[in-house]
Subunit: 242 residues, 2 copies
Amino acid sequence: MRFTSEQRLDDGVLEREFTLGEIPGILWTPASAPAPLILLGHPPLGLRKMYPRLVARAQQSAAEGFATATIELPGSGDRPRWPAAEQAHADLRRAMEAGEPVSDEIVDALILPLVDKAVPEWQTALDSLLSLPEIGGPVGYSGGVISIGIRLAVVEPRVSAAVLFAGSFVPRAMFEEAGQVTIPLHVLLQWDDEGNDRQAALDLFDAFSSKEKSLHAHLGGHTGVPQFAGDAATQFFTRHLK
Amino acid sequence: MRFTSEQRLDDGVLEREFTLGEIPGILWTPASAPAPLILLGHPPLGLRKMYPRLVARAQQSAAEGFATATIELPGSGDRPRWPAAEQAHADLRRAMEAGEPVSDEIVDALILPLVDKAVPEWQTALDSLLSLPEIGGPVGYSGGVISIGIRLAVVEPRVSAAVLFAGSFVPRAMFEEAGQVTIPLHVLLQWDDEGNDRQAALDLFDAFSSKEKSLHAHLGGHTGVPQFAGDAATQFFTRHLK
């Protein structure tokens, strides 16, 4: 892990860009250290595009004493192109523009390779992040591609609580994996998410084996998550990571 | 409205019992006045039996600067017996003990007369409560029989936000009434509520016309609402009543 830039934000949060081999990432740390860490998930649209929303979540988390970090997903942003993923995205776009149902094959091709490739990268990032003196204590995962959050919750024992956003396609195989999740979960659902199957999201919530799980559904579309939903997610992490 | 007793609780909250004609009730006020008011709904089990849970909600609300009040439901506690309601309860018990589905007729007989009788009483209580100098500002309704909350939200313009507990039988007629509700709503659902139809609760949430509505579902049975769910409900009222 190599830090490539550093700036102090208005509220005193330290923002540092880093690379982890070929993978770019960003770490935000509050003044209080050592701080528990939240991994910030995001959709595969590139860190640059996602930056405004990520930094807002980072600052909100820092205000409650959390460090946050994120890394670029495979095939996104400045990382090497990934033809198979681009093909899956093109197939998805074509189906949606044609008004056709999105087939299991398309969802599998879109999500499963991404999960298989991304999750070990997040674990490697975690190795490096937890070796920093300013990071300490338990780790949470928040948002982004829900299947990545599910897989991390299953395979990574250092992740001890997760906020999941039920706002992306979920391969059928992940429903079975969801049954292996036992850490505390806080699941967000946008009730009128355009591209999301509400019933599938409810079934997925039902499938988790966690003894503490809450579903917070809010009126509105995919990007309409209200500000107070973020506050509730932070409170969830405060209960479980402090 | 006539106060019949008064005591100061450990945390400084003033608890006063009152009667409103034949109807007993309790008012809790915080040190800061005038305070916005939350009406505390409850199931028809009698105020005496519900007191421990009600006073806990009252003290949690007072800590955030809210006054709270509740009145006995018709046919409950020390109020005159109500043979029709007792018959409906006996029919419900018989159906459940026999493992039969609870028919629409039983639900209607159980809930509709209760709503018709209780809601005007809560409105009368509101008249008296809002005339007190220590009560001021907007009014919220919280918990109890969800159909009473729905009717109050429709007919009582002074109620400007509601926390509803999707944990009791809902007559079909109330789904239509739910479509007339437009105030901000915070709906609680216990995911494994024994006596409650989860899909009906989700359909009811869908039916509300409110522009701001959130569903908070938590793992567990009817009485297993976690402590942090109460905190979130109080934060909802803080956003809307202050």
